[in-house]
Amino acid sequence: MKVLSIALNTFRENLRDKLLYNLLIFALLMIGSSLLLMRLTLGEFHRLLLDIGLGSVNIFSVLIAIFVGIGLVSKEIDKKTIYTIVSKPVARFEFLLGKFFGLTITLLVNMIIMTAGLLAVLVAQSVPIEAVLFKAIGLILLECMVVTAVALLCSTFTSATLSAIFTLAIYVIGHLTADLKTFGQKMDGLGRSVLEGMYYLLPNLERFNLKGNVTHHIDVPLNELVLIVAYGMAYAAFLLLLASVIFQRRDFR
């Protein structure tokens, strides 16, 4: 299957890229450093370990999604490698999907390594490991897939630098959409409609954040989890569809 071939090729490209290893090493160092910080806290050190650990997994995965994501397509266009792909019997959307899943595989492998590091720290400090931790990590992957789709969409119509700025902006706003809604409710007329429109249009990335649940040992019921996963998948699919439509019309000059 062509999508899979392109995905595996993208994964291989990522594996041979130094950026990825730098980020991974930093992430593992951060997770490890929580052991030192733990000595500075009074009590609640379980919470600190989980907070820093999950935070590191989240931040570094998102960084990979954004900075590798923006280059997925634009690098192929800049280096003209795309000419040889698109002139083969490969549909443009197949190329985009291949790139998307390639980075998803990369993220998955990275997260497995980071999670292993986190678990090692937790086990060493005999912190109880609960199911909600894995749910939280799963949702971080889903969040990264949405962020990747945003980066991919941006890179189909603009430069790598602008894509990075747009994607970062959407990531930040995506975590503050609840505030947009609250703010909108305090306004009336046009302002209210605009802010509410933005609330529904932008990805609500806060939905994928279960870090509070993990540190406070509150499990998430399955039906709620299914809803969140469906929301993430649908949102990413919508972005990929939009990216395909734009990409299909594009001239490779």
Binding site: E13, K79, T81, K88, P89, R253
Partner: protein
């Protein structure tokens, strides 16, 4: 001979207008271009840099969309998967996935044609052999020289055993040996029954290889046809003579016959325009006991045609001003 052959690439009035800059100024890169490539021939697509060769090829490959006009390959509209399955393409100054080794690189392209397993492995080894790159099969592409990249690039274009091979500037940036290898490869492809279309601004290569050529300037087709037909209209009978030990008084007898005389120490080079002049000059040389070193008839070349067409376009452009 090829006139009865099946047409496999056909472009009709292809036009591409780009919008450039902030204000979207319109620039016509290709203007109403029509051409056809027939089965089994080597077709040269010639023109100076910036003439619109690459833009035309990109339109044929479905990388950019024509503003107007149509084109078909194997009877399918451009971009159709059925046409792409029988097509191989090498882009201009290609950059490839430099983190892959030669073999991984070809394997990846094979997968895009759904080639798998031993069939694919055999094909990859065979192609690396064909382009003389077997020694670099496990070397990453980032360590390749330009000539090596060009060769795996050609191998990539042949992975699906295509009927039509389109090469955009396959010889640019290569040293004389590399150019000869690419020329030989094109001839081998022709021998094995494939159709080759290639673009070049190096006319000498085209003259040696092509059955038919199309010449494009400023986005417009200026000539298209068999090389011999195109040259028929611009034959010259100039002969270049190089003479040693020619005494000054003998030189004075030749000078009125010659169009051009160049003195290099003992050696004299003269250019003569007609057979009659050549005979007379030879008589002078014999009687003066000078030594004839070389006698070279000047053949009309595509280059002459090219320069003539360029001058026509230039003067047409300047005409309204004066």
């Amino acid at each position: 001979m090829e006139s009865t052959a099946e047409t496999i690439v056909e472009a009709k009035n292809l036009t591409k207008v780009f919008r450039v800059g902030f204000w979207g100024r319109r620039v016509t890169a290709v203007d109403g271009l029509s051409l056809d490539v027939r089965r089994g021939e080597v077709f040269g697509f010639l023109g100076p840099n910036g003439a619109g060769k690459t833009t035309t090829i990109k339109m044929l490959m479905g990388l950019i969309y024509p503003t107007s006009g149509t084109a078909s390959i194997f009877g399918y509209p451009i971009g159709a998967p059925q046409a792409r399955a029988k097509l191989g393409f090498l882009p201009e100054s290609p950059y490839f996935y430099d983190y892959l080794t030669g073999r991984e690189f070809l394997r990846f392209y094979g997968h895009l044609f759904n080639l798998r397993g031993t069939t694919l492995e055999q094909r990859v080894d065979e192609l690396l052999e064909t382009v003389g790159m077997s020694h670099a099969r496990d070397l990453q592409l980032r360590k390749f020289s330009k000539g090596m990249l060009q060769r795996v690039g050609i191998a990539q274009a042949l992975i699906n055993d295509p009927e039509l091979v389109v090469l955009d500037e396959p010889m640019s940036g290569l040293d004389p040996i590399g150019r000869k290898e690419v020329r030989d490869l094109i001839l081998r492809l022709k021998e094995s029954g494939k159709t080759v279309m290639f673009s070049s601004h190096i006319l000498h290569d085209a003259e040696m290889l092509c059955d038919r050529v199309a010449m494009i300037m400023k986005g417009r087709l200026v000539a298209c046809g068999h090389v011999s037909e195109l040259l028929a209209g611009s034959t010259t009978h100039e002969v270049e003579m190089v003479i040693d030990r020619l005494l000054p008084e003998a030189l004075e007898r030749i000078r009125p016959l010659a169009g051009k005389v160049v003195l290099q120490g003992e050696r004299v080079m003269v250019v003569l325009a007609s057979q009659q002049d050549v005979d007379q000059a030879l008589d002078v040389i014999r009687s003066a006991k000078a030594k004839l070193v070389a006698l070279t008839p000047h053949k009309a070349s595509l280059e002459d045609l090219f320069i003539r067409e360029a001058n026509v376009i230039q003067s047409a452009k300047e005409a309204p001003v004066s």
